[in-house]
Symmetry: C2
Subunit: 432 residues, 2 copies
């Protein structure tokens, strides 16, 4: 494989052979090909695309570039969920213990927040004492004992993806469905999964702005993952308003606890979480013809799911006295500042992206990876798209350390005179 | 100008502003932008193209990246010729003294041979004692005295083009008309020209294989050069057989001397040289309504052009005794090896590319810039496309040091039973 001829092939819209794909990317993993050649290939791939076989090859190169889990000895179906990221999305925190309480192994590697969306690991770290960064053997031990563990991606996992992502970030080649596909599926496939459920979001708070773009990504993810022999289903969900009532870190843990304890939570958050959980059950036990919805509701209402959550975070370093008094152990900022409706009418749009960015400015998230997070900062949203509202009525409340100007937040809620129809949060299910 | 946004712009088929083009490429010239970002932009530009304004901006960046000539004080029209390169092309060696003998200043910067085509500088260096690499002041002094000089490109000229070319070479972005345009015109525009004549070749011995590709390149070169305020004309010429009777270094100098002394030379070489010379005269003296063909013929037959050639090479270091005995001073290999026709019929094709490569194998050219050249090696071709020939008749002769197998050379000449029509060497003239 000659790197210049390889680039030429993609430049000229030809298809790479499996062998060439593997040599090119193995060589890059081993620093034997310079960044400028890979960057040029990335632009050619961005503009001319990759077919499913090429996506599978690139994904395999990502998987094989580093360490991976071997969980064959754990005699349970291994299932994980991946979301493409949205504002207020805390479904992972509920799904992991909920599925583990049903004897599904969930080897969930999550990420940190960056830009306008929060990260599962950051949210979890608002729990005093928790450690999400553990040696691989310890992750496996916790999975053996409790069936699931909240994991951070170690540096030994998919080094090729890290190199490619850093390069894409500085060469305007991030927003490419084939490249996104290899990155997402490559990371997930190191978890030794039997099945994968994807939550592909679209809308103003999502990476994909339109339903069609999300659908294309979902199809690409499902095709590639299935091509690698893993049962895969994707839900396409609406991220045109934040998911759930709370946005922040501690506050999203509280909302997760509420759901895990069987309490009523904001309906779209509940709907998405239950739909994902049901798909995970179907994939984990494909032959069991059960009423999974009912079983899942029981696990929430009878305390099993919450108990499992406490056991797992206890195993991940949270002291027994904190576990016994979890809600009160979470840092919550002292002041509540009201955000009021600017006019009477119906909420027609909520700018989730802008809300996410404003929360980052308040230190609830980070713009660069070295920024510190203030776990106690949060936003509680009382009203959603389609709701009728009066001028000056409280739409939301900021949980902060001191009084502040809320105009920018208020402007994130568009209010119109005509009634607005509420939309379904789950728009489509893709299986191949 | 943010480099990532700049790349994104070309990726998305948008047009760059003049300011952004200049900042991006000035930054690259000063090593302030990494190769991987420029490489990515090159692929985006390769695939999505550049419009005329963008080509002009890139060319300006190339020109302004380094040193350039200022020849305002030389009170003559400054005209140069550029060829896109072919096998056996020695027109520059005749044109420079021929035009200088008509009081046209020719500040001709030439290149070295690489791959299958020879280079004017290499050919000139078969003349014992000649120096083509001189200080800028010395080039100017020779032009002041003799009106023309054979120049090598100094390292101070167009450093941006050198950086871009090195990067294109390893990123499969060489064959892009906009990028080739900026490279060619950028270099030529440092010569402080009033007019430029281009010889854009097509065929099996040229960079552009088809007439249409050559025509597109010619149009792009003319548009860009004229956009920079320089009168420009392009001839599109056929390079489906080597230009002239000889291929090599010393032997091409001999063929040039023959023409400069008014002797009959192979007709296609004569036709191209005279057509280029006539265009150079028209551009140099646009208001003079003269019979330039006749004047040029006189300059060749009366010895003026040859005398000018001797004066210039004398000024460039060739001793007076060598100048007085130039033909015999040139190194010529001792042996002649015949290449015979494999069958009777008509010559329908000559594989110039393959002949060029075979000559490089005999050390008449170089594959890498550090290879040494054997100036005495040559090939003399007696028969051309359309000529009738008998089996075993001598088509060509190699001028070499020892006997060798000629089958590979013989196979470069395709012979068919049916008669073949000779084609015109000059196919089109492009002015805007």
């Amino acid at each position: 494989m000659n790197p210049v001829e390889f680039i030429m092939e993609k430049r000229d819209k030809k298809t790479h052979s499996k062998e060439d794909m593997h040599s090119f990317f193995n060589a890059y993993t081993n620093d034997e090909i310079p960044d400028y050649q890979v960057a040029t290939w990335l632009m050619a791939a961005f503009l001319n695309g990759l077919n499913t076989d090429e996506k599978i090859c690139l994904t395999e190169a990502v998987i094989n570039s580093g360490d991976r889990f071997n969980l064959k000895h754990i005699n349970k179906p291994k299932v994980d969920k991946h979301s493409t990221g949205g504002v207020g999305d805390k479904t992972s925190i509920v799904l992991l213990p909920l599925l583990a309480s049903l004897d599904v192994c969930v080897p969930m590697m999550s990420g940190r927040g960056l830009g306008h969306t929060g990260g599962t690991l950051d949210k979890l770290e608002s729990i005093p004492g928790i450690t999400v960064q553990l040696p691989k053997e310890e992750y496996i031990r916790i999975m053996e004992e409790h069936g699931a563990v909240f994991m951070a991606q170690t540096t030994a996992i998919t080094p090729l993806d890290k190199k490619l992502y850093s390069l894409r970030d500085v060469t305007a080649t991030v927003e490419s469905i084939p490249l996104i596909t290899a990155s997402i599926i490559g990371k997930k496939m190191t978890e030794d999964l039997d099945a994968l459920i994807l939550d592909v979001k679209f809308g103003n708070g999502a990476f994909m702005k339109t339903f069609d773009a999300a659908r294309n990504l979902a199809q690409s993810l499902v095709d590639t993952s299935k091509g690698l022999g893993v049962k895969t289903t994707a839900l396409i969900t609406d991220m045109n308003e934040p998911l759930g009532e709370y946005i922040g870190n501690s506050v999203e843990i509280i909302e997760s606890i509420n759901m895990l304890q069987g309490q009523n939570v904001e309906s779209r958050f509940y709907d998405v979480t239950m739909a994902l959980a049901k798909r995970m059950c179907h994939s984990a036990f494909p032959k069991a013809e059960k009423n999974w919805r009912k079983i899942l509701e029981e696990k929430l209402s009878n305390g099993d799911a919450y108990e499992k959550f406490l056991k797992i975070i206890n195993a991940q370093g949270v002291k027994t006295e904190t576990v016994g008094n979890l809600r009160d152990s979470l840092p919550i900022a002292e002041k509540r500042v009201q955000i009021k409706a600017v006019q009477s009418g119906f909420i027609s749009a909520i700018d989730s992206y802008r809300i996410g960015r404003l929360m980052v400015e308040l230190k609830a998230g980070r713009m660069k990876i070295t920024d510190a997070i203030d776990f106690g900062i949060g936003l509680q949203i009382f009203r959603h798209i389609g709701d009728e509202i009066k001028a000056d009525e409280v739409i939301a409340e900021l949980i902060v350390h001191s009084e502040l100007e809320t105009d920018a937040f208020a402007r994130c809620f568009t209010i119109q005179d005509q009634p607005v129809k509420k939309t379904e949060v789950i728009r489509e299910v893709i299986r191949r």
